[in-house]
């Protein structure tokens, strides 16, 4: 698979911060990519450079095989910022048509596509309502539609599910999968790690303006696994101590164990088997992304990122 977008040594410094400090990564075409990081890590700045809103101080962006040209390439991008606004006094249908026209669609095309999407997401009755009549979740749906309406190659969604109820969140999630299957590349930025685990193929974690993690969700989990296993026995073992593992949590016939250095999972099983225990289940416990995130970010003082002189 070829890469839709490649970032090479991107830098963007602001007066008081190195918002993006030498970040490089690439995103495959048709993948769902998670851009993670604590508040103020530089995610939004990074996205703004990808959408042509900011010019990088140094480094380069390759988009679709060529040097990124904001003026022509922005019509191939759909961006839904985290803090997204709409014209409050405008009617919803008109507003959606307006935004679509700015992306280069003709009025007729826009109306046709909007009708399709409004029907799909059960929004038909909204057409003549004003934006100010919408709840936060409802305007979220509208913004999602206006973001993907012009069938962009790259869709960037910043916290797309905030304010959505589970039913609507699933509706949007299904659309995201559908878009990826049709070849759209999606950059997904959020703090909700369980959503990332569920949706994303590959992730990058940025903190303090630097990339600290890059890989597929599975790779990352493997990388940070702590050799923890959960073992369930039919009967309570007489002796549950062995030098091959340390018990972290014990509940009669259920144990969570950490394999000591120099031993393998088979050693754990063997120690119980030797006692004549019947093993009912044995699984590896992989860390959740949430745990990895906290592990990596905690203690870096990034939660209250200090202003630095540059």
């Amino acid at each position: 698979m070829n890469n839709l977008i490649e970032l090479q040594n991107l830098k963007k410094y602001f007066a008081t911060q190195k918002a993006v400090d030498d970040i490089s990564f690439s995103i495959e075409q048709g993948s769902i990519f998670g851009l993670l990081g604590p508040n103020g890590a530089g995610k939004t700045t990074l996205i703004r450079m990808i959408t042509g809103i900011f010019y990088q101080d140094s480094g380069s962006i390759i988009f679709d095989g060529k040097k990124f040209d904001p003026i022509n390439d922005i019509t191939k991008i759909g961006y839904m910022p985290e803090e997204r606004g709409l014209y409050k006094k405008m009617k919803i249908g008109e507003q959606a048509i307006y935004l679509a026209q700015l992306k280069g669609l003709s009025r007729n095309d826009a109306v046709q596509k909007l009708k399709f999407w409004f029907e799909k997401l059960e929004m038909q009755s909204w057409w003549n309502k004003k934006v100010e009549d919408l709840s936060k979740g409802m305007s979220q749906k509208l913004q999602f539609v206006t973001t993907v309406l012009h069938e962009p190659k790259l869709i960037i969604l910043d916290e797309p599910f905030s304010g959505l109820d589970p039913v609507n969140a699933n509706l949007i999630k299904d659309e995201i999968y559908g878009l990826a299957q049709r070849g759209c590349t999606i950059i997904f930025s959020t703090h909700r790690m369980e959503q990332v685990e569920e949706i994303c193929d590959k992730i990058v974690l940025v903190n303090l303006g630097k990339k600290i993690l890059d890989g597929t969700v599975q790779d990352v989990k493997q990388q940070f696994k702590e050799n923890k296993f959960k073992i369930k026995l039919r009967e309570v073992p007489a002796n549950s101590n062995d030098n091959s593992f340390t018990i972290i949590d014990a509940k009669a016939n259920e144990f969570i164990v950490k394999i000591n250095e120099g031993f393998k999972s088979n050693d754990v099983l063997q120690s119980f088997l030797q006692q004549g225990c019947t093993i009912e289940s044995f699984n590896e416990i992989l860390p959740s992304l949430n745990d990895i995130f906290i592990h990596l970010v905690e203690g870096t003082k990034s939660t209250a990122r200090a202003f630095q002189q540059i």
Binding site: I77, R84, L86, T146
Partner: protein, 445 residues
């Protein structure tokens, strides 16, 4: 479709569809019209007679002025000199006098009637005096000439110039100057207000787009310059439409005035002075309040003023709107931020207004000439000069030069503002200083 046009269309439509637009567009001319009618009403009801003594040594008027007994009363006196008449004015025996020396020749262009008044004469009274004197003169000239030469015919058709001075020798402005000054002041003031109203409208629009973060969504679709120009063009069209409606409404109401105030018209119907031949030619002509108004209007070149007004409105608007847009783009969360930065923009506008007030009375002073050529002040100042007419108030050359400079001016401010706007609209959280803005201007795209 061009994206700038799409943006302009939206800006235009959302503003025009608002109720407030309808209210101000229809309401304002009605308000002005109301004030206007009120002024006429009071002017008409002011029944105090204006007494003028006439010492006619040249025997020009004979008795033709005497029997007219309304508003302005002419009484012929004998054996008075300028000195005794001056004394009579100070003693308030008369409001004004006309002294016609023996050698006064009607057909001599250089000789003109001289009205000396106790104090500056009001516009309407002035117009009444002028009308009566001219009618009487015309009548006399006709009676005189059975064998009229070509020169005499010309002088006949030319209304005599009548000079007004006050008793202490100050030259009182004639109707044309006064009317021109009023028009110049009015138009200059209107442009001054308009620059502020529409300028801040652009600024608020930009700041609003930035703070509610729709700007970020839109900038990911269009170039910042397109967004800025779209907004400026859209709001400018709103302003233009509003003015055209105003002009049409004002002219319409103007014609309706006699229908709305028939009593007033009747009351103001001053009896026709024209006997004999003149009565035949100008029987249609009515004199009254409307006549005065029309006469005042007739003193200024309305099409020229409207044309220049629209040009200077658009030119001035484009120049300042882009600057206001640039300031709007530097606003972060708090609209207060803009205040210090609007100062450099509002200063020249206010400066222009000050020069304009001078130029109204003195359209050819060096300051007025400078102010009407310098593009930042010309939209306001030039209106004051144009009202005095071409070439009295301003030469064709200066007018054209000023227009060219204004076009050059707004192209450069737009270019400059575009550079600031491009960076400003995308800049969040960064405290903006003048120095910073300087950097943005010189940064390459």
């Amino acid at each position: 479709m061009n994206k700038t046009f799409i943006i302009a269309r939206r800006e235009f439509l959302t503003r025009v569809q608002k109720k407030t637009f309808l209210l101000t567009t229809i309401g304002l001319p009605l308000l002005i019209f109301g004030i206007y009618a009120l002024i006429i009403f009071f002017a008409v009801n002011d029944t105090k007679d204006y007494k003028i003594a006439v010492q006619d040594d040249a025997k020009i008027f004979k008795t033709s002025l005497e029997d007219k007994k309304k508003e302005v009363v002419f009484s012929f006196v004998n054996n008075e000199t300028k000195t005794t008449l001056d004394a009579a004015l100070i003693a308030k025996k008369y409001d004004a006098y006309i002294y016609i020396p023996k050698d006064f020749n009607l057909n001599n262009i250089k000789d003109s009637l001289h009205v000396v008044a106790a104090k500056s004469v009001g516009l309407i009274t002035k117009s009444t005096i002028e009308k009566k004197l001219n009618n009487a003169l015309e009548e006399n000239k006709l009676l005189l000439g059975l064998n009229i030469s070509k020169a005499q015919l010309d002088s006949l058709q030319r209304t005599s110039e009548i000079k007004f001075t006050t008793v202490n020798g100050e030259k009182d402005t004639d109707i044309k100057t006064t009317a021109s000054s009023i028009f110049g002041y009015g138009c200059g003031f209107l442009i001054y207000i308009v620059l502020f109203i529409y300028g801040t409208m652009v600024m608020r629009g930009v700041a609003e787009e930035k703070t509610n973060r729709i700007a970020e969504v839109i900038i990911s679709s269009v170039k910042p310059f397109q967004l800025m120009m779209g907004k400026i063009l859209g709001i400018g069209t709103v302003g233009l439409l509003q003015f055209l409606i105003w002009i049409v409404l004002m002219l319409g109401l103007q014609l309706l005035l006699p229908l709305i105030f028939p009593d007033l018209m009747h009351q103001m119907q001053s009896q026709p002075i024209q006997p004999g031949m003149i009565a035949a030619t100008s029987a249609v002509q009515q004199s009254g309040a409307m006549d005065h108004i029309h006469e005042i209007f007739a003193q200024v070149n309305i099409p020229l003023i409207i044309g220049c007004f629209l040009f200077y409105f658009l030119g001035g608007y484009f120049m300042y709107a882009s600057l206001f847009a640039a300031v709007g783009s530097t606003v972060n969360e708090d609209p207060q931020d803009a205040q210090t930065l609007t100062l450099p923009i509002t200063m020249p506008i206010i400066f222009g207004f000050v020069i304009m007030m001078q130029a109204v009375n003195n359209p050819n002073s060096p300051l007025a000439v400078f102010g009407s050529l310098f593009p930042l002040t010309s939209p306001i100042v030039m209106m004051a000069r144009v009202a005095h007419g071409v070439p009295d108030g301003v030469t064709i050359f200066q007018l054209v030069l000023s227009m060219v400079l204004l076009v050059v001016g707004f192209i450069s401010t737009t270019w400059l503002a575009g550079k600031i706007y491009r960076t400003g609209i995308l800049m969040y959280g960064k405290k903006v200083t003048i120095k910073e803005i300087g950097k943005w201007i010189f940064r390459k795209a």
